[in-house]
């Protein structure tokens, strides 16, 4: 190692490598590939929440101009993967059976896709869809979480494995809470939230041959999709190609292959044409997952001087009747604070609704709303500053796993965040600070998420002009994966970023997992590192073989590019790439390298941490809340792409504003049907809702987690934001809102 010579740790802000494509409209998203002879499919959803289809009258639709097919369970071709046991392949697997579209006449949720109308144009397909008449036999449905809470149950995964994150957990003394000097107890409710990426879920399904399928599909994993559809259609994996070069946001809803994708593939097979299927915005609420409505109850016991004695935390989250969706709602309660006694009880409640799916920050963001609100409430009850209260319960090792942290730099976050938000202006007593008519409040919330890492493989090619081209199947749903990988490669090799290309988003490329769970830089980054080092090794070997003795004992870390020159650190030896390639009679060199998690994962607890601070104004008479400033502090290891990383934090904070103040998918339980199901009624934050967001990165590498030193950002960007805002609202008004969103009606 010769780090003094080659300063590789300093990553500089870089414009997005795909920026030009995105600002010119040239970036192609999944519905934007013009294939000859394209047909268009529109899905008709069920109008009841539970029951069976009695009849489908498709005559008028079939006769409508341009309609090619009206497909339902009555006439859909057999999907081999549905047979024989009825297992439907899906990864990552939820317990149960994903919905098999057009399989039978069962209705398991409202707006379940039951008919596809395929036509020669979108307009004709839409019109055709409006002509389909369906009769149902209704059964009594259950969609209301609170009303049916008594039916909540332990997840099957937890029954099988007591170590499952969803299993019951107890540490310390069982009745510690009961005997605590200060006892606090409250219930919190998070409504159903919907990912609502700006791009509607879209797929073009194209059977290039009878057993050869290409999908241009909006997903977060091209390999997952390839594998699932290969199984579903009983064809070799190499016969399935999934293209997802650009993904217009996803936030988790592309982590599952959904019924509409299979519907399009069935339709393409049936009409023998490529079929484009784009969901409507309403269908984004019912067909591609959501953050489940979750009820939580938390009990916190503490001493009067602010030491935690016990935390008991339980939650019930809704799931569908056919898949057990679970998430890690209660995990941080076990490890965030040094409470000697902790109990968690995680339950799921199957309802006649569609299956949820992880939404940004997933369960941790839900759990953090309860935990971090409760911490604020207890601090208030004992008259302590909420930051001091948290610091009094700071934990230097993971109390759940009984392991040291790989790294944890939260103290820096507390200090920096306090300074930047102006915490000194906060008054302990709520309602004391005013700006004109508006009440002013400050609040904070913390977040954590596992520094996840999975195996990933990168192929890299270096030509004699010094162009480095890499390939990997990973997707980029927006964080700037290509940009980050180019930066890692440049940082590792010294090759300037404009000579490096990172191709992603195709199942044709080397393996990578899903873009989810904040794992991309931690997983693919090391593979880029490995590939770059392998190329350097090849160059060193080539140089040494040609008699350049200085290279004989050199290691990859000693070698860096300086434009077209290869330099050896600390030594005067150098050669040029052109010479080396010429001497070896080569046009290019290449390598494929895999990188995997190592045994450090068994020795350390690896987590990224965040801390969010909010300053809000609340109007005492109209109940309006205006977030005036947010400070986000993150201990996420090495920040390899400072510019896009900052944007990712800003985006997470914006999602947190939505969670805290505006987002609510309201269902009318009489019908089991959403009533707020478009972007007019389901309010995601707009420009006017979002203040300046100040981002601070500790930016210290965690080399135990992975060789890049990164711990991941996507989730911690949102986890803890909603409680920070809710706590600030309390500080402003003295009103504690425990059911999100905090709309004006709840504050007047």
């Amino acid at each position: 190692m010769n780090e003094a010579f080659f300063d590789k740790k300093e990553y500089k802000p870089l414009d997005r490598v795909d920026g030009r494509l995105k600002v010119t409209g040239a970036a192609k998203y999944s519905a934007e590939y013009p294939l000859p002879n394209m047909a268009f499919a529109v899905l008709v959803g069920s109008r009841i929440a539970k029951g069976t289809i009695k009849s489908i009258d498709s005559k008028a639709a079939e006769r409508a101009p341009g309609v090619l097919a009206v497909i339902s369970h009555l006439n859909a071709i057999k999907v081999p993967g549905y047979q024989p046991k009825g297992e439907h392949p899906s990864e990552p697997s939820t317990n149960g059976q994903p919905l098999r579209v057009f399989f039978d006449n069962k209705i398991v949720s409202n707006d379940q896709p039951i008919v596809a109308v395929v036509a020669t144009s979108l307009e004709k397909a839409q019109y055709g869809a409006s002509l389909v008449k369906i009769q149902y036999i209704k059964e009594q449905h259950k969609t209301d979480l609170e009303a049916n809470a008594g039916d909540a149950k332990l997840a099957a995964a937890a029954k099988k494995n007591p170590k499952s994150p969803t299993a019951d957990y107890d540490r310390g003394q069982k009745d510690a809470f009961e005997s605590a000097p200060v006892k606090f107890e409250a219930e919190y409710v998070l409504p159903t939230e919907v990912h609502n990426p700006m791009e509607l879920q879209s797929i073009i399904a194209h059977w290039e041959a009878d057993n050869k399928l290409t999908v241009y599909d909006k997903v977060q994993g091209t390999k997952m999709t390839q594998k699932n559809f290969a199984k579903e259609w009983d064809i070799p994996e190499e016969n399935v190609k999934c293209i997802a070069t650009f993904v217009g946001g996803a936030f988790g809803n592309g982590l599952h292959n959904w019924p509409h994708e299979t519907a399009a593939i069935i339709a393409a097979k049936q009409v023998k044409r490529p079929v484009k299927l784009v969901l409507t915005r309403e269908q984004m609420f019912t067909m591609v997952g959501y953050r489940p409505r979750t009820w939580q109850k938390i009990q916190v016991g503490a001493t009067r001087d602010g030491k935690l004695v016990a935390i008991n935390h339980q939650s019930i989250g809704q799931t569908s009747s056919y898949e057990e969706f679970t998430e890690s709602t209660l995990m941080q309660t076990r490890m965030m604070y040094a409470s000697p006694s902790v109990s968690t009880r995680y339950r799921i409640l199957p309802l006649n609704v569609a299956t949820p799916i992880w939404m940004r920050g997933p369960g941790e963001a839900t759990g953090a709303f309860a935990l971090e609100s409760a911490m604020d409430e207890v601090a208030h009850a004992i008259g302590m500053d909420p930051i001091d209260f948290r610091l009094a319960n700071y934990t230097e090792s993971d109390p759940d796993k009984n392991m040291p942290w790989s790294t944890k730099y939260m103290r820096e976050c507390y200090e920096e965040g306090k300074k930047r938000i102006g915490w000194k202006n906060r008054k302990l007593k709520p309602g004391e600070v005013r700006d004109g008519e508006w009440l002013v409040g400050y609040g904070m919330g913390t977040g954590t998420f596992g520094a996840n890492r999975g195996p990933a493989t990168v192929h890299a090619e270096l030509d004699k002009e010094g162009n480095l081209v890499m390939h990997c199947a990973i997707t980029d749903i927006g964080p700037g994966t290509g940009t980050a990988m180019v930066q890692i490669a440049s940082n590792t090799t010294g090759i300037s970023t404009d000579k490096i290309t990172f191709h992603l988003g195709s199942s044709e490329f080397p393996n990578a997992g899903l873009q989810g769970g904040s794992s991309t830089v931690n997983s693919v980054g090391p593979a880029v590192l490995a590939a770059c080092n392998a190329l350097k090794e090849q160059l060193i070997t080539m140089a040494a073989a040609k008699g350049n003795s200085a290279f004989t004992s050199a290691k990859p870390d000693d070698l860096m590019f300086n434009k077209s020159e290869l330099q050896l650190g600390g030594k005067s030896a150098k050669t040029t790439l052109a010479d080396l390639f010429k001497q070896n009679n080569l046009e290019k060199i290449e390598t494929t390298n895999e990188s995997k998690p190592d045994e450090n994962r068994n020795k350390y607890s690896m987590n990224a941490f965040s801390m969010h601070f909010a300053m809000v104004h609340v109007h005492p008479f109209t109940g309006q809340v205006r977030v005036k400033k947010i400070v986000c502090c993150a201990d996420a290891g090495t920040i390899v792409s400072p510019k896009t990383a900052e944007s990712q934090m800003i985006g997470g904070a914006t999602g947190g504003i939505g969670m805290a103040l505006t987002e609510d998918a309201v269902m009318d339980h009489r019908f089991g049907r959403y009533v707020t199901k478009d972007l007019g009624d389901y309010h995601v934050p707009v420009h006017a809702d979002v203040p300046d967001i100040d981002v601070y990165f500790v930016n210290k590498p965690d080399l135990l987690a992975d060789p890049v030193g990164s711990k991941g950002l996507g989730e911690i960007a949102i986890i803890g934001v909603a409680p920070a805002i809710a706590n600030a609202v309390f500080n402003a008004t003295g009103k504690r809102v425990r059911e999100l969103p905090i709309t004006p009606d709840k504050l007047i």
Binding site: A60, G249, L679
Partner: protein
Amino acid sequence: MDKNKSNKKPEKEDHQESRRDFLKASSILTAIAVAPATVAKAAEYNLGEKISAAFETTPVNLTINGVKKQLPVEPRSTLLDVLREQLDLTGTKKGCDYGQCGACTVHVNGQRVLSCLSLAVMQEGKEVTTIEGLAKGDELHPMQKAFIKHDGFQCGYCTPGQIMSGIACINEGHANSKEDIKEFMSGNICRCGAYPNIVKAIQEVKNGGQKS
């Protein structure tokens, strides 16, 4: 409005109408099989659609990104669907299709409008500018450059709409302060949450004197 044009039009429409009336009268009543009642009622009046399908497009003359085009469109086709599905100008995005997100923002005669709520047939004689029409060759529009510089996007899907809207926001005189920009850009939703960076990009272009 061009007087000559509006004088000519009705005649043409009259022709079309009588043709439709004829088709209506000569077609056979088909079975009703319609989900929503409103559509059922409409369908009764909409007899013989199959027969008349071939006649159902109307030519519309548009200038798109400086290029004059005559396109056959169904009256029900939106400008958005015509751009994306007929002309392969997919830079204009469909985010909601109901006028609730701004992803489909284009300029029609220099004004920012939502192409998802604009019927293509109603744009007769108008000039449409889409995101693809902003750059002059390789030279990006200052707003495009500013978006890259300030990282005014992540996934990029709302970006064309934000850029088209941002340019118009300045031209309308609604970019005089940060608060002003935020209010007058609120019709463009960004779920990735790039808002503060978008505002910075617009401010920079505004302060640099926009030439569009």
